[in-house]
Amino acid sequence: MRAVLLILFAFALMGQRDPILVPEVSQHEVRVRQGFTGTELLLFGAVLDPLGRAAGSDYDIVVVLKGPSEPVRLREKERFVGVWVNAASSDFRSVPSFFAVASSRPVSEIVDEKTAAIYEFGTDYIQLSPSGVIDPEEQARFKAGLVDLKTRQQLYKQDFEGVQISEQVLYQSRISLPSSVSTGTYTAETFAVRDGRVIASAQAEVEVKKVGFERLVAEYSQEWSLAYGLMAVALAVGMGWAAGRLFALM
């Protein structure tokens, strides 16, 4: 007890007044199996000051949930002699397969644009590492197109009233994952913001993985492609043959 007090005292002396974030996620593992139609993650936690009490003063919470990134090529359709064909394209080296931001107040009221860009507070600020196209205007157009596409697929989302803070201590936010989420390691970052400054942050991980039959199918198709193909053919031939026999008997 004395040791704890001593440490806390030391913190106080050092002028360490920044609060501590204690984040938690409702499930650290999302199992994608038969009947999976998406799920809802509850990101919650508490903000404490170093003395273990409620943080006291007003602060805002922003949570960012990000899925594994992948390199993609984005193609843009254009009218060519009346027909819509793919024309220009742009490459992005790290496009998160899923991205969700929730905050207790609109981000523009919490931080300035620069800070928002650093911490990716919003779908406008996702860092995609574009390569290829250099013209900034064109790059912005492609980025907007990408974000719009992903937003309509419900893979990118932002909710500026999505975090509830109760008693200035506990916060919670619900983020739904659609059934089309990619598998991999998702990171849930929580930021406590006061006076336009990020004063504390913490990170938690969520593993999205296929299990059981679904995992078997996905792995088999990748690693034993030939056997998988033969199995698909056998299934088709078998079912066709069985149906023929069955109806012939009737």
Partner: protein, 301 residues
């Protein structure tokens, strides 16, 4: 009933997919075509990624054609010699198709090529079928005797083989080339190619009508097997769960279809098929010119 598709990576309503399979099954039982030309666009419309749709549709066609081959083979309606020549061509063609698929995908024009192919092929064949059906209905299509057996070009090819069941003495190069063309199309469009094969056999090769449907199904059976394997090895896009759902519908639908086919007038059936084919072609044609829903598309690198 929500079913998660492990390769397409999304959840679908299983009953819809079974119903879709049944619809194409009924068509294949009624008209002797695989029905892939309807499955692929409808799956894409439902939100299945195009590559997965094409790959899985070709596997479904395998299942749908097995029943037909058994039935036709039982009463001598399959020219196996001709079929094997075409299958050989078809396997080569699906290899070409796979390369072409990859090339078109890398330059980003696969979607527009697939749509254009659908429009051109379905449009032409639908029109031909409609004209023929109308002529038969009016009783003016009695030019059978006057028509030449096969294209003069076919007769000029070297090295002739006898195809007894087809009643032909022609060079195997001709059916081989037809087989290659159908193989390429099967790989690109996810269709069995029956709607191309049947007219090609009748009007280009001049095969006797009673072996055309059976031999076409025989060829489709093996070519779709080859394309399934080709897809599993290259695009890895065959979704076995999707295939299963489609098959449940289509093998049942095929039986229902063939029972209706016995009772209905063949000219009427052909007219209906022509109308469906033209409708799909027309929809695809509009799709080329209307502003698409998505201006941007993502391709993983």
């Amino acid at each position: 009933m929500d079913v998660y598709l492990p390769i397409a990576n999304l959840s679908v309503n299983g009953l819809w997919i079974v119903a879709l399979g049944a619809l194409t099954g009924i068509l294949s039982g009624l008209f002797g075509v695989g029905g892939g030309f309807l499955t692929t666009p409808l799956l894409i419309f439902y939100g299945i990624p195009p590559t997965v749709a094409a790959a899985s549709a070709s596997t479904q066609v395998t299942g749908a054609s097995v029943t037909g081959v058994l039935a036709h083979g039982g009463r001598g309606g399959v020219d196996y010699r001709m079929g094997m020549v075409m299958v050989a061509g078809g396997i080569v063609g699906s290899g070409f198709g796979a390369l072409l698929f990859r090339f078109l995908r890398s330059i980003g024009q696969i979607d527009v090529v697939i749509s254009a192919l659908y429009v051109i092929l379905l449009g032409t064949i639908g029109m031909l079928m409609a004209r023929e059906a109308v002529q038969t209905l009016r009783g003016t299509g009695s030019s059978q005797a006057a028509r030449r057996r096969h294209h003069p070009l076919i007769a000029s090819l070297p090295m002739r083989w006898r195809f007894y069941r087809s009643g032909l003495y022609i060079s195997p190069i001709a059916p081989l080339v037809v087989g290659v063309a159908v193989g390429v199309l099967t790989m690109l469009m996810g269709v069995g190619g029956g709607f191309i094969l049947v007219p090609a056999m009748l009007y280009i090769l001049g095969m006797s009508a009673n072996v055309v449907v059976g031999t076409s199904l025989y060829n489709i059976l093996f070519v779709t097997m080859a394309t399934t394997l080709m897809h599993s090895l290259t695009t890895k896009a065959v979704d076995i769960v999707l295939v299963f759902l489609l098959l449940v519908g289509s093998v049942t639908g095929a039986q229902i279809g063939s029972q209706i086919a016995v009772k209905a007038k063949p000219e009427i059936l052909r007219l209906i098929l022509a109308a469906i084919v033209l409708l799909v072609a027309f929809r695809m044609f509009l799709g080329l010119f209307y502003q698409p829903d998505e201006i941007y598309t993502l391709y993983p690198l």
